[in-house]
Symmetry: C2
Subunit: 329 residues, 2 copies
């Protein structure tokens, strides 16, 4: 299961980061889910291996423009590409009404159905191999995190026990693995006795804008990966004031540490943070992405990642998580 970041800037795009969008992929096929669609998301999709025809669902965390202004153009282009399959759109109140108003105002006729689902009551929503839950966050407008949990964990055969019980390797093993009872040596063998689940279901949480990471404490149980905004460092957050409803790196990191989260991916960086010290303009004092990294690293002992546009991460069955190398296209 993979995450492909399509935008990692907050508020406005920069020359190296687009506004928020994240593709969530799985091993079942080309189908993918999109969390948020800031302006220019379809342009990022063009530069990726993704296709709008394979898009299974769009999940919108909140109504702010840097998370949704890419929706109308992306939907229009999906239509022009010949997509006919219905598209699920899970979003807070306001998005459906705005998209319908946009369709009417701009004469946008889509050759596929949009199936809107309100974020508020989303619990265990089946979405491909996932079961999705919405968690309400704290921001200037209603904002949600989406927890993607693997719906079905593929079991492994307990080959030691099969050997002990004298069950010969072959078709019997295959049927047991598929969950089918078999007969052997006059005995009925039940799959439950020969299957084990060594790995917990994979779980990834993708947060929207949020100034209270602790609201995710319960959802983080059994979660391997949290993607969360870290718009600022603590010093800048103090200057900006609490009214913006964003988190700073130290707060997110401390939260992740407190719940023992194994992997934390930070994103949604204010455009004021330069790419890194090496690329700074020489004008001296501007903060850099490295400042965000250092602040988070000081408060968190798990594996920390700062997302870039087109960064791709893979979560294995074993719970291991890390960047996938290779060209984006």
């Amino acid at each position: 299961m993979e995450l492909l970041f399509l935008g990692t800037s907050s508020g406005t795009p920069t020359k190296s980061r687009n506004v928020t969008a994240l593709a969530v992929l799985d091993e079942q096929g080309p189908g993918w889910c999109l969390v948020d669609a800031g302006e220019g998301t379809q342009h990022q999709v063009l530069k990726s291996p993704l296709s709008l025809r394979d898009l299974r669902a769009i999940l919108v965390t909140h109504v702010h423009g840097d998370h949704c202004y890419g929706l109308p153009g992306l939907l229009a282009s999906a239509g022009l590409s010949g997509r006919q399959a219905p598209l699920q759109i899970i979003a807070p109140e306001g998005i459906e009404e705005w998209l319908r108003a946009t369709q009417a105002a701009t004469q946008l006729h889509l050759p596929f159905e949009m199936e809107f689902i309100r974020a508020e009551p989303v619990r265990h929503l089946p979405l491909g191999p996932w079961r999705v839950d919405a968690v309400e966050l704290s921001h200037r407008v209603p904002s949600f995190a989406y927890a993607f949990t693997e719906a079905q964990v593929e079991p492994m055969l307990d080959t030691e026990k099969l050997a002990q019980d004298g069950v010969p390797q072959g078709p019997l093993w295959g049927r047991l693995k598929k969950g089918i009872e078999v007969e052997h040596a006059g005995r009925v063998l039940r799959p439950a006795d020969y299957l084990k689940h060594p790995f917990a279901p994979r779980k990834i949480i993708v947060g929207g804008d949020n100034d209270r990471p602790d609201l995710l404490a319960e959802a983080c149980a059994g979660c391997q990966v949290l993607v969360h905004e870290a718009t600022y460092t603590a010093d800048v957050a103090a200057k900006v004031g609490p009214g913006v409803g964003h988190s700073h790196a130290a707060a997110v990191a401390a939260f992740a540490e407190s719940v023992g989260l194994p992997h934390l991916v930070l994103t949604h960086f204010s455009a004021r943070y330069q790419a890194n010290t090496g690329e700074s303009s020489g004008m001296g004092s501007g903060p850099t992405i490295d400042d965000i990294r250092a602040e988070a690293a000081a408060a968190y002992r798990g594996q920390l990642w700062l997302a870039d546009d087109f960064a791709r991460y893979r979560l294995l069955r074993t719970g291991e998580f890390g960047p996938v190398s290779g060209p984006p296209t």
Copy 2:
């Protein structure tokens, strides 16, 4: 006076062309006008020497998304950049209502006023050094061309006549040039007698989507440059059918020829046209931008240009027009 193309694709962006947007610049300063703003226009502005703070006005040709879906994000970013100056938005019915609805739905609070002007009755609207007139076109929705005419042509002194009449070079010449009457050798000299206007006012027409170029015949009088869509070649247009409301290259070129237009710039090319034959995929038969060029060139004897993203053209006082070299940033 310059044109800087920010998007030259119709319908959907491609890897090398964004959807429609065009900056109109002048010699008076950094102020500029934007005609249309497809999704990603603010991203193109980021890659250009333009600043959203200097934006004087936005003119929208029609409500289709590939001409306006970039407006909300561009306005939001202008606000985040600290712009406070009011912004004129000249647009057909529907755009103001949609932008107001978008503001409400996405909680977009702008620190500047938007001053909406309906395109329909726009006649001689002063816009910096320009006087702008809207011309109604033919498309699936109300669509307009905007004619930019230089409001004031700087006169030149008739130095021959001044010498003949014995008016000595110096302050007297300067005052006459400014349009002030002077006294010399007991006579009152009137500026009108010593000023000449060797060049006609510059005039550029930027069309919206349109399947009847002939609607621009009257407006093209005294016009040096027409920017017009050529979405298709004639063969593709025949396949697509007349319902789309677009022009093909041969029709636009024949119109330009019929009115003796000196310079024609084609844009808004269907994404099916590959960059050129050299870059084609080798799969053989796809049409190219060169096909559009060849079709137009066969019907038009004036100077023909096919716009690319970030192509920049300059119109001199003399009426000369052509590409400006130099890097876009």
